[in-house]
């Protein structure tokens, strides 16, 4: 039985002027899976998300969401299927809109009724109580803003969530809270997630499969477990793994020292 992949990408190519930023990128993500895209700056991982989300219309190749072809300028109901969370919590919320207005906007655009109840529910889902509902973004901390951004992405009840470095700008303790939240939401709503990050540890924690990108190409695709136990096959993957491990804690807390 072959279930329809939630996301299927074949030969995705993107050019910025003369620069060929994405070359023949291909991967697929099963429904309910967490897929990671890891790479350093300039690898093209964010460009993949921008093409998938419809933000960048200049791409070529084949992209299918749940079997439906993705077009360069998607129709409005596409956004009820696919949503995105951005990296910078200080730039992703409109400074002049209260949290309430920010969450009401997608509902108004799609003509979805009962906004009050849905907004309260969305806030509760991300662990913010209703005291936050009428605050402005400059009255929220980074972690709180990111929670609002997640609530905003999920209020339209998409089945696919794209995340562009969602915790890179947060303190580690806040990152832990947000990652736990994302995991809970994913399980509860059976979301398909594509997580882009430069941090292999974060991707390793959240995802089951990962594609390693370098210079606009996917150099390797692997199960996280396999990667962890056997290392990577491509030299760049090995370099990335080594660097990530090198800066990992010398000896973790609950493991006995190897004598």
């Amino acid at each position: 039985m072959s279930a329809l992949p939630a996301i299927e990408v074949r030969n995705l190519n993107v050019h910025f002027g003369t620069a060929h930023v994405l070359r023949d990128v291909s991967f697929s993500v099963a429904a309910g899976e967490s897929f990671g895209l890891v790479g350093e700056s300039g690898s093209g991982k964010s460009t993949v998300l921008r093409a998938l989300s419809g933000l960048n219309p200049n791409w070529s190749g084949t992209v299918r969401f749940n079997g439906r072809d993705h077009v360069t300028r998607p129709a409005r109901d596409f956004y009820r299927q696919v949503q995105m969370v951005f990296q910078d919590p200080f730039g992703s919320l409109h400074p002049r809109l209260t949290v309430d207005a920010c969450l009401a906007e997608p509902l108004a655009i799609h003509g979805i009724g009962d906004p009050d109840r849905r907004i309260e529910q969305a806030l509760a889902d991300v662990g913010l109580d209703h005291g936050f509902r009428f605050r402005y973004p400059n009255q929220l901390s980074g972690g709180q803003r990111q929670r609002v951004a997640i609530a905003r992405a999920l209020i339209l009840e998409p089945s696919i969530l794209l995340l562009d470095e969602p915790t890179s700008a947060l303190d580690v303790s806040i990152q832990a809270e947000v990652l736990n939240l994302l995991q809970d939401l994913k399980n509860r709503r059976d979301l398909t997630m594509v997580l882009v990050s430069h941090n292999l540890a974060v991707v390793g924690h959240m995802c089951s499969r990962v594609a390693v990108m370098n210079g606009g190409v996917i150099v390797e695709e692997a199960d996280i477990d396999t990667l962890r136990r056997q290392g990577g096959r491509h030299p760049y993957t090995q370099e990335l793994l080594a660097a990530s491990r090198h800066v990992a804690l010398a000896q973790p807390m609950d493991q006995p020292a190897m004598v």
Partner: protein, 295 residues
């Protein structure tokens, strides 16, 4: 709940409370700036004088009294009388109305127009940007007073025509300011987010881009007020703005021109009034810029 607690609550319970709370915080910020407060006081004084002119002015501004011509300032005539025996103080007080009318009419027509053109230009870019900006450049190329003169020469003198003339030359800077601001935020994540919700371009521009540009336009407006008042005064000085016997300050300066050495008060007091009001708007604009820019 006291008003203070209501306004400073960290958990506002409604949109109105949130909005009022934000205005209160902005007011607090403005209060820190003594120069801005001074500007605010001047502007408020202008508004009140205009509203209460009939009660404040001791004499009729247009009543001529030829045996009271060119009297020096005294207890009866605070600022003296002009060449036709009219009380200058009363004329200045009533003149606030004319100044206000001109300034408000210009701002109401120019602000929204410049804002719209600027945001459309900045948001869409490409051919729309090119066309709109070239149109803006054409209007920007004319010196304000000269173009105003040309309009008035064609349309005839009078306040309404002066307003149209000034408005025609005053809007380009607003378009420029709005365009610059739009181009900066066009690539912001929050605009991308609302596009990802399926919003139409019209909705994005009107509901999301324009509100960000409004503070810059407001600040630019207050700073421009001085210029508008001076242009109107210039037209009035040349006899092309408000027509006699209306107590327009520029026309008053013109009328006092020939007496400036012996009866200095005829030209000086209207001049001081213009200075003071221009200064007031300027100071207020500066203060507003600091307050509204804070995110």
């Amino acid at each position: 709940m006291s008003l203070y607690t209501y306004l400073t609550s960290e958990r506002p319970a409604s949109r109105r409370q949130a909005q009022l709370g934000q205005y209160y915080r902005q007011w607090q910020a403005l209060k820190q700036n003594p120069l801005a407060l001074m500007g605010l006081v001047i502007v408020i004084a202008l508004l009140m004088l205009a509203a209460l002119a009939p009660w404040v002015a001791p004499h009729d501004p247009i009543a001529q009294n030829l045996d009271q011509r060119l009297l020096a300032p005294s207890a009866k005539h605070f600022f003296g009388t002009d060449a036709l025996g009219r009380d200058i103080f009363s004329r200045i007080v009533y003149g606030t109305r004319i100044t206000l009318v001109i300034v408000l009419l210009v701002v109401i027509s120019v602000g929204p127009l410049g804002l719209l053109i600027g945001t459309l230009s900045g948001y869409f870019g490409g051919i729309i940007d090119t066309i709109l900006m070239r149109v803006t450049d054409i209007f920007l190329a004319f010196p304000r007073l000269v173009l105003a003169l040309a309009f008035v020469a064609v349309l005839g003198p009078g306040i309404e025509n002066a307003v149209i003339a000034i408005a025609c030359t005053a809007w380009p800077p607003y378009a420029r300011v709005a365009r610059a601001e739009t181009m900066v935020i066009r690539n912001a994540d929050y605009i991308a987010a609302v596009r990802l919700q399926g919003a139409s371009n019209a909705r994005i521009v009107l509901k999301h881009v324009v509100p960000i540009c409004i503070p810059s336009v407001i600040v630019r407006t207050t700073l421009d007020m001085a210029g508008i008042i001076l242009t109107a005064a210039g037209l009035g000085f040349l006899g092309l703005g408000a027509q006699p016997p209306l107590p327009e300050w520029g026309a008053m300066i013109a009328a006092g021109r020939e007496f400036v050495f012996d009866q200095w008060w005829v030209a000086t007091f209207p001049g001081l009034a213009i200075c003071l009001v221009a200064l007031g708007f300027n100071l207020l604009g500066d203060g507003l810029r600091d307050v509204l820019d804070a995110k």
